[in-house]
């Protein structure tokens, strides 16, 4: 496992207990949850928004949403970090859609303090980041353009329209890429889990 992955590992399992406490109105658990998960959340926001000041604003918004929506979290279905990542990603996507622009190359080079990674633009990051072995294997089984479309949508909040522009394909083709890519991913993950 790379040093970067060790640094950005998902929060500990007890985040789920803390989130359940937050749902019951515990401000102490809310503070502990912030301590346990804010690095994970801020990494996602900074990676998607590419603007530290904006990421700090959205970080506040994310924890306000966590406080107000915690009662919707079901610990029997999902892990806290997955639910929290969803809240964070959707908050970042809201900002990206509202501002209606992507960072320029210069802005991409100015992203805040990083963990010694020289690569700074999404394409390079996609190639060089180490993800879980299982996910990596499954993405490798996809045609490269489908895997990239999926990662740009998930990791950088690209809309269908933006993906159409980026990959220069018709909308129907792009949607088909994503759907087929997801089916491949789903089958691959299931096969890997069965074989584990």
């Amino acid at each position: 496992m790379s040093a970067a992955l060790r640094l950005v590992r998902a929060p500990a399992q007890d985040s789920t207990a803390l989130l359940v406490g937050v749902a019951k109105g515990s401000r102490a658990d809310f503070a502990r949850l912030y301590d346990a998960t804010s690095g994970f959340v801020f990494t996602i926001l900074n990676g998607m928004l590419r603007d530290r000041a904006e990421s700090e604003e959205v970080l506040q918004e994310v924890y306000i949403r966590i406080w107000t929506k915690a009662h919707l979290f079901d610990p029997t279905l999902a892990k806290a970090e997955h639910w929290i990542a969803k809240i964070a990603r959707h908050a970042a996507i809201d900002v990206i859609r509202t501002r209606g622009r992507r960072p320029s190359t210069t802005e991409l080079d100015d992203v805040g303090e990083t963990a010694a990674a020289p690569q700074r633009n999404p394409e390079q990051e996609l190639l060089q980041k180490d993800m879980s072995n299982l996910m990596s294997k499954c993405l490798e089984q996809m045609p490269p353009e489908k895997a990239q479309a999926l990662q740009f949508a998930y990791g950088y909040g690209y809309s269908y329209e933006e993906l159409v522009d980026k990959f220069n394909v018709p909308m129907n083709t792009l949607k088909s890429w994503l759907r087929r890519g997801l089916i491949t991913l789903k089958d691959c993950v299931a096969a890997q889990m069965d074989g584990a």
Binding site: Y34, M48, K79, L150, G155, L178
Partner: protein, 110 residues
């Protein structure tokens, strides 16, 4: 589109905002849909690790002020505990010195 495909779209984030709001209403009402959502959240979770890690600023006081309308009482951290303990030790030491000086004065008849 199947619910499975809709769930995947929702989790990935490509769903337009209005559709997302509608879908979240369905999620609250349909347990089977929440199961599908949980599956996709878990399946795609490794992609959360694709970004360069950065340290988060401590914005908890601002968040608590926005949520609760006041600054939360300072939390008892190891450092504050150590500071408090240090202050208590200093006060006790000063009290002992003062008592000794007083008793010395009494004994000497000052």
């Amino acid at each position: 589109m199947t619910d499975d495909a809709l769930c995947a779209e929702y989790v990935i984030g490509v769903m337009p905002e209005a559709e997302r709001a509608q879908f979240e209403k369905r999620l609250r009402a349909e347990p089977d849909l929440r199961l599908l959502e949980a599956f996709w959240l878990e399946t795609l979770a490794p992609l959360n690790q694709m970004h360069t890690p950065v340290a988060a600023p401590n914005l908890l006081p601002q968040i608590e002020r926005r949520l609760f309308g006041q600054v939360a009482a300072p939390r008892l951290t190891c450092r504050s505990f150590a500071n408090r303990r240090g202050a208590v030790v200093l006060l006790v030491a000063l009290a002992i010195i003062a008592a000794k000086l007083y008793l010395t004065g009494v004994i000497l008849g000052l």
